[in-house]
Amino acid sequence: MKIEVLYPEICTLFGDKGNMKYLSQCLPDAEFVSTELNDKPLFLQEEVALVYMCSMSEKSQELILSRLMQYKDEIAPMLKEGRTLFLFVGNALELLGSYIQREDGSKVEGLGLFDFYSVRQAPNRFNNLMKAKFKDMTLIGYSSRFSHTYGISEDISFCKTEIGKGMNPDTNDEGIYTGKLIATYLLGPLLIQNPDFVHFLLAELGWPMDKIPYEDAMREAYAYKLKEFAKPELELS
């Protein structure tokens, strides 16, 4: 099994590397391939089980788009085919939309794979603790960004927040889940913090496990954090 990590030199900004480090311990026989900025993504050349891309600076978003635009017509069918699982976390998801609007009103063209758009608002930083429902599981996590995203229809949203906001301050719908694409503003150790989600992901990859590595310790951390969400007057940012 091949797992491709896109642009780790500039796309592992907020502890996101932890997910792949952990996954490599779940799947010791899997081959993890790092694709560099000036290389053609491996998933466009051969079969890859999982493509992972995560948080980056706004400058890096534009750098990556400048490299990926040439492949956008090849990427679209890959998403539809549903053979490869895509996991985009943090602001990586913004690359998939129509455009990203800068603070001065100018626009950066996105890959156009979906109709949504994102609007940057630096220096205002939007920090957001999140507790959300995905299928029958409760996900916990965090998002931190300079932008909001608008125009994702509810039927393809990834999860619904119970605490915290979704893609923008006016919605509880968070992320995208369609076919085998999962894209979410949740960042950092999304997998490690959510053992049930690891089980889901491994099953999607065709490698379900009865027990994942360090599951007891992970569940202890998860349970403690879940209790903290019940703090009175919890500050989300």
Partner: protein, 456 residues
């Protein structure tokens, strides 16, 4: 000329400081808040000291500004600095208030400001420093600082062009600051232990900022610190006016080259990050105009502040408090490496959880996946005690780093965790604490010392 409002604000702020002092507190924050409320442009109106220096950067700014203040004072100058106060606007305003007499005239020779890098947009344009010293830019709290590209844009935009900028040439991001200002660079030249490929968990700026090509390191020290060249467009690290050429940890000396001249200075600490701090201080003093001989004498009289690192030995066991900044993976990874490589059998207590987040929020723990817990996966680290509300997250991180479960203990209370250290057969006990947890770490240290004295 300062306005009537300014003078009212100054007097009110000074009076508040007097009252706060009578109450037994330092008054390093509130006078600044009062002055700002009464006169929002107080900083802009305040007369400047003959010498104004601002120090900013992700890591090392406290140490550098404290050492710089010490040196200036020991050279005979009257100096005020915000060393005991905050490094955001109220702390810097209080610093200015302290530099003025009751009539609003400057009463000191120099002001040194430690400036929070994100808050620099509200400080640098008004303090209008003669020198801006930048230690380097790294990842820090994602909530506060987002990422280094953002902090770069803040400093680059808001630092007045008139300031002379003293930059670390070994840190590519900050070394590109203020291209149109007068700039000088410092750095540490090639050393025997250097690498040429990134080897840490994180290394930002591996790509050329001009063309996106992967950079080549002539030498790499840690993370992205080193001397680079782009094989495609030729971009390279800046030439260093102040270059450390030899670090001699046995003789505790540091050789610096300036042009054709080599000068040997006392080495004040063996950890590389503190050597960078010392090189920064030496470079700043030289730029200000001190002769090499004067700088040698001044450096010989200073030491790294106790609040950053101190140790006490009781019955053969040394208890060490070492700063390990929460949410700052680069700085803490360097502390972890330093601790891991110290001699003897070590027990480590982690007390890096944020003090304010624990009250009403839940601290973001993702940063620990950028932090090199792997450093503690070695035989001579015999115990790792994860303490604080995030202790369960830290335990998982330890396990992923390969640390055997039997070596790991958890306690949601830092102070209670001090009782969990097994002192038998341990040579050194490290309390790694976040800046805000210093008081707590002192309490932990006292508990351990008491146990050692009582032979428990």
């Amino acid at each position: 000329m300062a306005s009537f409002r300014f003078h009212v604000a100054l007097v009110a702020a000074k009076l508040s400081k007097t009252v706060i002092r009578l109450l037994g507190r330092n008054g390093t924050h509130t006078p600044g808040v009062i002055a700002q409320k009464l006169c929002p442009d107080f900083l802009a109106q305040a007369p400047k000291a003959p010498l104004a220096i601002c120090v900013t950067g992700t890591n090392g700014k406290t140490t550098v500004s404290n050492l710089l203040t010490d040196c200036l004072e020991k050279s005979g100058k009257s100096v005020v600095s915000n060393r005991t106060g905050s490094n955001i606007v109220p702390g810097c305003m209080t610093n200015v208030i302290n530099s003025l007499n009751w009539t609003g005239k400057c009463r000191v020779d120099a002001t040194v400001f430690e400036v929070d890098e994100r808050a620099s947009r509200l400080i640098l344009p008004y303090v209008n420093p003669d020198y801006l010293v930048v230690t380097g830019l790294f990842r820090d709290s994602l909530k506060r600082n987002a990422h280094p590209d953002y902090i770069f844009s803040v400093i680059d935009t808001y630092c007045p062009d008139s300031a002379k900028v003293i930059l670390n040439a070994d840190e590519l991001c900050s070394s590109m600051l203020k291209k149109n200002s007068q700039r000088v660079f410092y750095g540490i030249g090639a050393q025997p232990d250097d690498k040429t490929e990134p080897y840490n968990l994180i290394a930002d700026y591996q790509l050329c900022p001009e063309c996106g090509t992967k950079l080549k390191y002539n030498y790499l020290r840690y993370h992205h610190i080193g001397d680079v060249v782009c094989p495609n467009c030729g971009l390279h690290s800046a030439d260093k006016k102040y270059l450390a050429t030899e670090i001699n940890r046995e003789n505790m000396t540091l050789t610096m080259r300036e042009g054709d001249t080599e000068t040997v200075y006392p080495l004040i600490h063996t950890a590389l990050f503190n050597i960078y701090n010392e090189v920064t201080v030496i470079s700043a003093l030289r730029e200000i105009g001190y002769q090499q001989e004067q700088v040698q004498e001044l450096i010989a009289q200073i030491h790294v502040p106790d609040s950053r690192h101190n140790e006490t030995t009781v019955n053969g066991v040394t208890v060490i408090q070492a700063l390990s900044k929460g949410q700052s993976a680069v700085s803490s990874s360097r502390t972890f490496e330093y601790v891991a490589n110290e001699e003897g059998r070590k027990a480590v207590i982690l007390a890096m959880d944020d003090l304010s987040d624990r009250k009403k929020s839940i601290e973001y723990s993702g940063w620990i996946y950028d932090l090199e817990f792997e450093q503690f996966n070695r035989d001579d680290v015999v115990q790792v005690i994860c303490s604080g509300p995030r202790c369960y997250d830290h335990k998982v991180r330890c396990l992923i780093a390969g640390i055997p479960e039997e070596k790991i203990q958890v306690n949601t209370s830092e102070v209670a965790a001090a009782d969990m250290v097994t002192l038998d057969g341990v040579d050194r006990v490290y309390i790694l604490y976040d800046c805000e947890n210093y008081g707590m770490s002192c309490e932990m240290k006292q508990k351990i010392i008491k146990r050692l004295e009582e032979g428990k």
